[in-house]
């Protein structure tokens, strides 16, 4: 953030810095970063290149009222670097803790989203998100499937959600791979075991399979994001689990299938499934979303829980979150080089 000295109306010069002896007062305003770094914060500089910050006065609510900012120096003494740490002050800001949820836009409101309809068989339970399909609006199998209030069938908003979903898929397909050329995720991990993955972007040019379960290791960073992108299908075998360890959160996991995603009963999927040509959940549990831009979503006796990142009021903003729409005005004690 660059703090720019406040002025007294249009055309007038800056009101600060104002000196008391060799030190000065400064009041400036600035906007948040486009990609926040949790645990580090956002480096603060002044719009005056020959001044440095002696003390940045934080403990203030952003103008939107959504965040509280605190000053965080790298050390004591003059000419330190000062970072601004951002924390959620409202439930709305806390709910935005997952960058995946933010990226999905209105598609994040859906637990199941399809293009050619949704078919269910058996005692499926949907919690935490709506279900909808567009342009084919047929939804069958509810009941016996159930939606836990306030989740509803919403085909009206599905068209806009499809647009948001397409944009999200294009975004994830364009990420820089951490590993590429993958085919069998069960044995190609980069973590502590062959089936373990640390935060990153994992690409396969064609299909990705999981004949046995995989482990997603956040290494203590609850903001860690895991992205798996396949050129065609993604398959999780029967009875297998996509497991989360060391703070990993299902809300921060994404599977992008260039064609279809399939899981076989009684598998457990933790993450958001984004598929270009249909999703088949054969039973078990999905802690996340099943969102398809074309084709159907077919589901059989699956418990679907749309999860949010476990962020709460007072928690630090997650890494990657865009705060450029947030503005603060802060007081500073400054010195001159």
């Amino acid at each position: 953030m660059i703090l720019t000295a406040i002025g007294k109306g249009t055309g007038a010069g800056p009101l600060y810095p104002e000196f008391a002896g060799r030190r000065g007062l400064f009041v400036g305003s600035g906007t948040g970063p486009t990609s926040y770094v949790s645990g580090t914060g956002d480096l603060v500089t002044l719009n005056l290149p020959n001044y440095y910050i002696d003390a940045l006065i934080g403990g203030e609510v952003s103008i939107s009222k959504n965040y509280v900012v605190y000053a965080d120096p790298t050390g004591t003494g003059a000419r330190q670097q000062w970072y601004l740490r951002w924390f959620a002050a409202t439930a709305a800001a806390a709910g935005g803790g997952s960058v995946v949820t933010t990226r999905l836009g209105t598609a994040a409101n859906y637990a199941l989203l399809a293009y050619s309809g949704i078919t269910n068989s058996g005692s499926t339970v949907i919690t935490g998100g709506n279900i909808g399909s567009y342009p084919t609006t047929s939804i069958t199998g509810f009941p016996p499937g159930t939606l836990t209030s306030p989740a509803v069938i919403d085909n009206v908003a599905a068209q806009a959600a499809q647009t948001a979903l397409t944009a999200a898929i294009i975004y994830y397909q364009g990420l820089t791979p951490t590993l590429s050329g993958l085919t069998d995720l069960s044995v190609e991990g980069n973590g502590s075991t062959a089936s373990t993955y640390t935060a990153g972007n994992y690409f396969g040019s064609t299909s990705l399979t999981m004949p046995t379960g995989i482990i997603l290791d956040a290494q203590g960073n609850s903001s860690a994001v895991f992205v798996f992108v396949a050129g065609s299908t993604i398959n999780l075998a029967s009875g297998q689990t996509i497991a989360l360890v060391n703070g990993a959160q299902a809300a921060n996991v994404v599977f992008v299938a260039g064609s279809a995603f399939t899981s076989v009963a009684t598998s457990t999927v933790n993450g958001n499934i984004l598929a270009v040509s249909g999703i088949n959940l054969g039973g078990g549990t999905l802690n996340g979303r099943a969102l398809a831009t074309t084709g159907t979503v077919a589901i059989a006796a699956t418990t679907v829980v749309t999860v949010s990142a476990s962020s709460s009021i007072g928690s630090e903003v997650a890494s990657g979150q865009n705060l450029s729409g947030e503005t603060v005005q802060l007081g500073v004690f400054v010195g001159q080089f």
């Binding site: 104002e18 000065g24 103008i63 002050a89 007081g331």
Partner: protein, 119 residues
């Protein structure tokens, strides 16, 4: 809340104290009789010809029950500054939560610093 300049015993007010054309100010005040959740309590000075450039918050009330954060209405000079009250002690409620609307905070006192300008 009206921030009233602190004094040195029986002497006159210690603030504002000028630094060039701007001034520092330290004052104290009490909370509102009926707090407004999500908006906070408008802060004014007991000096009608002065306005607040920056209010220095992130401090607890004298009782230690609450922490207050300044919240400007916008950027630039002559903004309105609100004080948002959050719970700091479990005896006052859920720590970290903003105080509920209509809560009477008139028994709570705070002392705050500010950078001020003169109309």
């Amino acid at each position: 809340m009206v921030l009233t300049s602190i004094t040195k015993g029986g002497g006159g007010p210690l603030y504002p104290d000028f630094i060039g054309r701007r001034a520092t100010f330290v004052g104290s005040g009490t909370g509102p009789t009926s707090y407004v959740f999500g908006t906070g309590d408008l802060v004014t000075l007991n000096l009608p010809s002065y306005y607040i450039d920056a209010l220095l918050g992130g401090v607890t009330s004298v009782s230690g029950k609450y922490v207050v954060y300044p919240n400007p209405a916008g950027i630039g000079a002559r903004q309105q500054w609100y004080l948002r009250w959050f719970i700091a002690l479990a005896t006052a409620g859920t720590v970290g939560a903003e105080v509920a609307s209509a809560t009477n905070l008139s028994g709570e006192s705070v002392q705050l610093g500010a950078f001020v300008g003169q109309f």
